[in-house]
Symmetry: C2
Subunit: 466 residues, 2 copies
Amino acid sequence: MLQKEIINELVKIMGKENVITGREDLLCYSYDATPDVPDPLPDVVVTPVNTGQVSQLVQIARQYKVPLYPRGSGTNLSGGTVPLKGGIVLSLLKMAEIMEVDAENLTATVQPGVIIQDLNNAVAPHGLLYPPDPGTVATATMGGSVAECSGGLRGLKYGVTKHYVMGLEVVLADGQVARFGGKTVKNVTALDMVKLFTGSEGTLGIITEIIVRLIPAPEARKTMFATFTNLSDAGNAVISIVKNKVIPATLEIMDQVTIKTVENFSQIGLPTEARAILLIEVDGIPEVVEQEADTVLQVIQNNNGRVQMARDEQERDNLWAARRAALPALAQVKPTTVLEDATVPRSKITEMLLALEEIAEKYNLQIGTFGHAGDGNLHPTILTDERDKEEMERVHAAVKEIFEKALALGGTLSGEHGIGMAKSSFLEWELGAGGVGVLHKIKNALDPEGILNPGKMGFNGGTGHE
Amino acid sequence: MLQKEIINELVKIMGKENVITGREDLLCYSYDATPDVPDPLPDVVVTPVNTGQVSQLVQIARQYKVPLYPRGSGTNLSGGTVPLKGGIVLSLLKMAEIMEVDAENLTATVQPGVIIQDLNNAVAPHGLLYPPDPGTVATATMGGSVAECSGGLRGLKYGVTKHYVMGLEVVLADGQVARFGGKTVKNVTALDMVKLFTGSEGTLGIITEIIVRLIPAPEARKTMFATFTNLSDAGNAVISIVKNKVIPATLEIMDQVTIKTVENFSQIGLPTEARAILLIEVDGIPEVVEQEADTVLQVIQNNNGRVQMARDEQERDNLWAARRAALPALAQVKPTTVLEDATVPRSKITEMLLALEEIAEKYNLQIGTFGHAGDGNLHPTILTDERDKEEMERVHAAVKEIFEKALALGGTLSGEHGIGMAKSSFLEWELGAGGVGVLHKIKNALDPEGILNPGKMGFNGGTGHE
């Protein structure tokens, strides 16, 4: 329990209406979208309404050495927002203003609580697009997605969140407010602090304002749907599309387990006999789209796939609905869904797909795999039950082997979900002792008291779920 | 002078042939392309041939507390490679292997000494392109351009160096070798150390291997040349092109001082009566190029410009030769060329151009301005003489006012030249005390002895040229 005195100070700063202490309310902030991690209650949840309040709040947390957990909508998939060591959850949902859409400079300035989709709705009338497109685009906040450097469906062609963050206002661990970057395309004024805070998972500072880059929205698009009777063919088609110099806006895969589960869940007529489906969308100006679609068709046929083009927006929406249903469909099969995002160089995707099948068999687990094949960013999804201790042991062993395999193929522990609690114990596998040492040095330098989101990325005693 | 013992150790590690101590040779490493900064002799120059040697070298520097200055071709424009406090210059020119061009993953892996143009020559046969295109592309190294996060002519459409660096091998200040990132499009494994070391100007570690992203080379391009009798019209055309959703590959400006000087220098028929020239290149697939060129033509006409299309590659090359001659042409007018790169949001470019004219008049200085107008990245170039103390005072006052103006317009101290020595004393103007504090904390955490490139970015007593 926090001292009464601290609660009083928080109320003084933010008003009673922004300080939550009721147990039922606190419960909602004890977890995020991550399975198989602890879900401790925070002591208090605060909802500041401006940067000044965040700054004062950080100073109090520092003064009393109370942990502070910044949080958006809690769609995190690596336990990044869980209040592991109790203390104060800092919800940024009340700082949700789209401050500016600047069509001349192709930028938008937003507060962290803005929902990603709302930003896109605001820029669309200007013919502009904010490309990052995580699966939770309708729920997740800009602040959360910047703090986690979200990826999503458009990574291959358009990059991920970090490629769009141009400027940040950050409340530092000592309460000072700093601004880095801005609206210029180029900026090399000293160390790139915009990129350091992007993806820092709330461990280095609290993001209170964000300037992002926008692009002219593509004029046209074409969506294709390809089925394969062989997993390798599907993987090879992915590699070959890019080798043929077509960079699709999205290039997604679903394996047979996922296809069957989605079909069972939503009955939209997916071919359950297929070993894999690819969903491909090319976009740009109409002439480019035509050319690229032709190339994709040919590549798929050359790799023994059957391809179908969405004839209209309705068919397109159905296809994407199927893809977006993958996780919810898988999630309803069993009580616990362990969703991984080990990622490999695109050329290794066939190998990784086959390895995942082998791992499922070896540990006798049900694994559905879907994901952003064009990025080499697969989501092997283990369907299990947290209460089954014996099966969970096999799950943990399988997860380890997935990481080992991804790293052996030149990949990474996490393509887009972050390290959080879930992967912190594996960090050294990828970064070595020297690399992990660098992370800790930076963390200790910027947050010497360890008040910011303790227990994540292996900082301040975070050791993961094992 | 270094102790004999240190030189002996260096020879033991790298062999005599890689340890340079002759005064005439040392002289070549006392300066880079930056005017108006000190040019002290280093004590020794070493040319290691592999990462192991770099690591041993760093350990020796640390043990004896001797400063270490990593260096590529020395094309730096902010004094970033000057051995300000004596010690060891570490030339990476002997680590110059293109280790791999991976056409499937669209990546290349290079050692730091590779010349940028050589990388592009190596990837061109695969139909690929490494887009960053600093003016010194034929001389500058990959290591130097990553350490400085070089910009150049293609920033608007293609971004700058940091948008292409996917992985790094870095020798840390304690001699440990760490690897960050890799060949995956997505990677959120902990803090983004790839981006932190990119643009760190050699102050945090020595870059010994680089993985960069490549893109399919554009199939077609069109180059246009527009003249204006009014500076505001030119600025407004720049803003309007992008507002019309055309993102040119390059969008360059030359003002009248520059036009006259280039014409005088190279006599290629530039219209010396014009107040400004824009050089615009659009690229992509042929149909896109046609459409975009049409839009550009119209925008220029709407802004009272006269436009001419390069009819063939020869005409195109001539136009770009004129643009690339801007700096050498200006540089031969007077003994000293103070080249700035204050940068503003694109929408403020007209205001900045007019302000530069006023500043030239106010301080009675000759300033030619050219640069990457599409990025808001102008290069006001002051033609002066270091030996003229009185004029240099006016130069320094003008530079200050240029920075003030750029920042007041929401811009940055440095778009692409870095901070180095030249701009370190102005850092707080942009970043505030809190922001500068963050930089110092990170520097102290990663290089507590201050051996890496001391005197740059305001670290370890670097205070700039004033």
